[in-house]
């Protein structure tokens, strides 16, 4: 029964994506929506991305220094490990899990409310492809902004690590800088960005699916919002395993 239900949900998701990825009726209106989504989903998320990354970068640096660093290990270990954690997992996967909460619930509740207040029906009656008009700009908007968010997260994380060195004197700036630069592999940056593009697609499309298919009232919108966050988070974790295996 569960398998049938899952397959049926997946089928409806594919149907919605098929409807979504069609040529916009009016490019002028599409670009207007696209720019709006760049701002709402991307620019408005910069603050929280910077804040969380800054603190996590600082905390990773302190934890590595206190719990792992020992006289038996090279002094660059703290900086090196902080950089690798930020590049390989935090700034792409964990940051996307956080964004699944912020952006995902926003998308599901916005589209869900439009569904229950018949705004989507109004679009359909006008002859507008409501799925394409509402969902496509969101998907493309977050996919466009995600590489910037990942880059900001990496830099903010390293900024946090420097803060512990400069303000907290946990580590010397020279040791940290040497560690951050040690054995740098450029591909890890690209890997994080490539992974984040998939995650951006998962967050927007899954959340939009839950919002678009809401039936009922405000209670169902709330439920859809929660389901969208849970499902996107689980899918991001699954995708992370596969993408890491493929890209490493």
């Amino acid at each position: 029964m569960l398998i049938v239900k899952s397959l049926s949900t997946f089928g409806r998701y594919l149907e919605l994506m098929n409807k979504t990825f069609s040529r916009p009726e009016r490019m002028r209106m599409f670009f207007k929506q696209y720019v709006k989504e760049l701002s709402q989903l991307g620019v408005d998320s910069i603050g929280i991305v910077l804040l969380i990354s800054l603190f996590i970068g600082a905390v990773i640096c302190i934890q590595i220094k206190l719990n792992i660093q020992s006289p038996w290990m090279p002094r660059f270990t703290t900086g090196y490990t902080t950089r690798e954690i930020m590049l390989l997992e935090f700034s792409s996967s964990i940051m996307c899990l956080i964004l699944a909460g912020k952006v995902g619930s926003n998308i599901a509740s916005e589209i869900g409310t439009m569904r229950v207040t018949q705004q989507i029906d109004a679009l359909d009656i006008m002859g507008v492809n409501s799925a394409s008009f509402l969902i496509l700009p969101k998907i493309l908007g977050l996919v466009t902004m995600m590489p910037f968010l990942v880059s900001f997260s990496i830099f903010a994380g390293m900024g946090g690590a420097y803060a512990t060195a400069i303000i907290g004197n946990v580590i010397t700036v020279d040791d940290l800088t040497y560690g951050l630069q040690h054995d740098f592999t450029e591909w890890y940056v690209w890997m994080g960005i490539i992974k984040s593009l998939f995650f951006a697609f998962i967050i927007t499309s899954v959340s939009a699916f839950y919002g678009y298919t809401v039936e009922g009232g405000s209670f169902e919108v709330g439920k859809a919002s929660t389901n969208s966050v849970v499902s996107s988070s689980v899918l991001i974790l699954f995708a992370d395993v596969f993408l890491t295996q493929i890209l490493s």
Partner: protein
């Protein structure tokens, strides 16, 4: 003209509409009336294509709507305007942007012409002063008027109104009714209104269809309704004390 022929609609094993036949003429205010849950909203949603009928046909000026493909339907939908029960205005847009939306999407006119048309429509519903406001900042009656302005922006041939008076006071309801009726006459539109507001029935009902438990029970106009002998219709129409007294006074 819209023709509905032998229309059936069921949800799983629940039959909601049974053998509905009706003709809605141009320039006429057509009313579908019935109790809550009688199937009138389902009928309207079938007519506009939000629900697929289980069986039967719908013709828009002899064009078979049920048999149309997706693209033909989208084209036909651009000839439709709809006013929803809760107005269904786009919250993130101002009143003017709401009215301009269908024009921005489908009209090839210049921005100035589109703006002029949107302002004309707002003026038609007496809302010229509210163009910069957002739906959350205006009253329910004003929201309905904005919805009417948006519905007529593209000069539709067919106008659908799903309980346009719900949640409005009697005076505002009258304004909305008169507005819809006048627009229907002025632009020779085929208008279908779903309602259970008896004031609307008596005020603007040129062609009234009574639906009861999914069946079409009665058809006539506002003059005939007072003398109708259909028991189910009478129990619905004269459920209120006021209308019973009106009927007795007419005798």
């Amino acid at each position: 003209m819209i023709e509905v022929k032998s229309l059936y609609k069921s949800f799983e094993d629940k039959q909601v509409l049974c053998d509905i036949n009706a003709t809605f003429n141009n320039g006429t205010t057509n009313l579908i009336i019935g109790q809550s849950g009688s199937g009138k909203t389902v009928l309207m949603k079938c007519i506009v294509g939000l629900f697929e009928p289980t069986r039967g046909n719908i013709f828009y000026d002899n064009r078979d709507f049920v048999g149309m493909n997706k693209i033909e339907r989208i084209k036909l939908r651009r000839e439709m305007g709809m006013i929803f029960q809760n107005a269904a205005l786009f919250d993130s847009m101002s009143v003017l942007e709401n009215v301009m939306f269908p024009l921005d999407m489908f009209s090839n006119d210049t921005y100035t012409d589109r703006l002029k048309r949107a302002r004309f429509c707002l003026d038609r519903v007496n809302l010229s002063d509210a163009e910069k406001k957002f739906p959350g900042e205006i009253s329910g009656g004003m929201q309905k008027r904005v919805a009417i302005a948006r519905a007529i922006a593209l000069n539709p041939k067919y106008l659908f109104c799903d309980e346009p008076n719900s949640g409005l006071d009697p005076k505002t309801s009258l304004v909305i009714d008169e507005l819809i009726h006048d627009i229907t006459k002025d632009f020779n539109i085929t208008t279908i209104i779903n309602t259970h507001d008896m004031n609307s029935v008596m005020g603007i009902g040129e062609n009234i269809i009574y639906i009861c438990e999914g069946w079409k029970e009665w058809q006539g106009n506002k003059d005939q309704i007072m003398t109708a002998t259909n028991e189910k219709l009478n129990s619905f129409i004269f459920a209120s004390d006021l209308f019973r007294k009106v009927k007795e006074a007419n005798k």
